[in-house]
């Protein structure tokens, strides 16, 4: 990694440590989801549609998705704070390539998201979360979390750079939020009775991300869901990265 990039990523990480509200809120929200859903409606995990793994393995992927959503606006907000203070101009006038100025806070956010996913997975394991492929499942979950985080961070940073408004960094989270409820978030397809919701869930990319995680955890989803989920996340994270970098070219300091 380029030395300037390393220094800027470290700066981004220190910024998160100094102002941990966003990642901690995301983590707290996810842990809350995990515990409350498991305690409240975990009993339905005995139904045949959930397989042998129970409700914990079924609900766990949504906690990972909400974790990244909670902190995805961080990169955009860091960039915005630097622009408002004028400090971005000083970074812009340094020898660091301009794309690094945008990618570094995204990387910091992504690292934070993957770290908290690891912690959440460890907590899940304590509560009996199954891992179908052992350590490979854990690595797979971290990898999917990384791609999901890059997707959200990239789009939110790009939108902020184009609009120049701090609040706009949260647009992506607001756009993704309804997709969570139009998917197999709480129940498997077999138990969703509304035909329109079933149809929507088929074209909802979040469904494939959830099912990819479920394949890794309990193996309750078919392998092709894992493949599609991974492909969707690779494509979306590359698009998000391209969007953020093309937005960086439009910056006027």
């Amino acid at each position: 990694m380029n030395a300037a990039c390393q220094i800027l990523v470290v700066r981004g990480v220190f910024k998160l440590i100094k102002q941990p509200a966003a990642p901690l809120t995301g983590f707290g929200m996810s842990l809350f989801f995990l515990l409350v859903y498991q305690a409240g409606i975990g009993g339905i995990g005995h139904l045949d549609a959930f397989g042998d793994a129970g409700y914990l393995a079924f609900i766990f992927p949504i906690t990972i998705i909400s974790l990244a959503m909670g902190s995805s606006a961080g990169a955009g907000q860091t960039l915005n704070a630097d622009m408002q203070s004028g400090y971005f101009k000083r970074l812009y006038l340094s020898p660091a390539p301009r794309w690094i100025l945008v990618v570094a806070p995204m990387l910091a956010d992504t690292l934070s998201s993957v770290l908290f996913t690891g912690i959440l997975t460890a907590i899940g394991a304590i509560f009996g979360l199954p891992f179908q492929f052992g350590i490979l499942s854990v690595l797979g979950i971290l990898f999917l979390s990384l791609l999901w985080s890059v997707t959200l961070c990239g789009f939110s940073a790009g939108i902020m750079l184009r609009t120049g408004q701090r609040q706009s960094a949260a647009i992506v989270t607001n756009a993704v939020f309804p997709l969570l409820f139009l998917s197999t978030t709480f129940l498997p397809r077999e138990l969703i009775t509304a035909k329109w919701l079933l149809s929507v869930s088929w074209v909802n990319p979040v469904t494939y991300v959830l099912e990819a995680n479920r394949f890794l955890l309990a193996g309750t989803s078919p392998k092709q869901f894992f493949v599609w989920g991974t492909v969707i996340l690779v494509v979306s994270s590359l698009c998000a990265l391209w969007f953020a970098l093309s937005s960086a070219r439009k910056i006027r300091v």
């Binding site: 300037a4 102002q19 020898p95 006027r252």
Partner: protein
Amino acid sequence: MSAEIEIKHLQKKYPNGVEALKGIDLEIGKGRLFALLGPNGAGKSTLVKIMTSLIRKDSGEFRIGGMNPEDHFARLRQYMGIASQENELDPGEKTETLLRFQARLFGMSKKLAAERADELIRLFRLSAERAKKVSALSGGNKRRLHCALALVHHPRILFLDEPTVGMDPLARETFWSVITDLNEQENITVLLTTQYLEEADKYASDIALIMEGRIHFAGTIPAFKSLVHPNPQASLEESYIMYVKSIISTN
């Protein structure tokens, strides 16, 4: 005297139709302390922004230290130090941390960065502010830190855009002592824009007068005074006002 900055036929028109630069030709010699003077909106900041690649030129060309900015992006960043009109500081960082970070960003090792930060803190008399957050600094100290950051990487040419705005007289004296020492002892070229003509009179070796996007005069201060004012003891400010008025009345 070799030219450190060479500008040829530089033109810039903003999207709103304002023609900020209408064909600038200028040479600034190595080791000179050069003041770019002119009324507000004359094109001074536009010229500095183009040379520091903050905005693009429409046409013309320029070289800095013999380098074309389009071909030597990273090298020129190391070669130039820039202190713009507005402070460019991270309010959440401490004075020393910000200086060290800037040094690291310019490729210095941790040890060298710490030494350079110490040196600049001493030079700009910021010792009492070393551990303070930028947001807690006074306006004058913020300005000093802003200028210190421009010097972290030992640049060979300094662009100072209205550098002493907001500094008290003592801070200005300290600032100019640092800049003139660098200029004289290390032969660093300084390009200054300022509205404080007494500062230009006292410290600059050459000036250029820019108005409505054109250079009207470029040369030494004594040459400018003798061209404009009948009294050889006249200050630069008196000569400047007389000259600008004559241009306005001619137009």
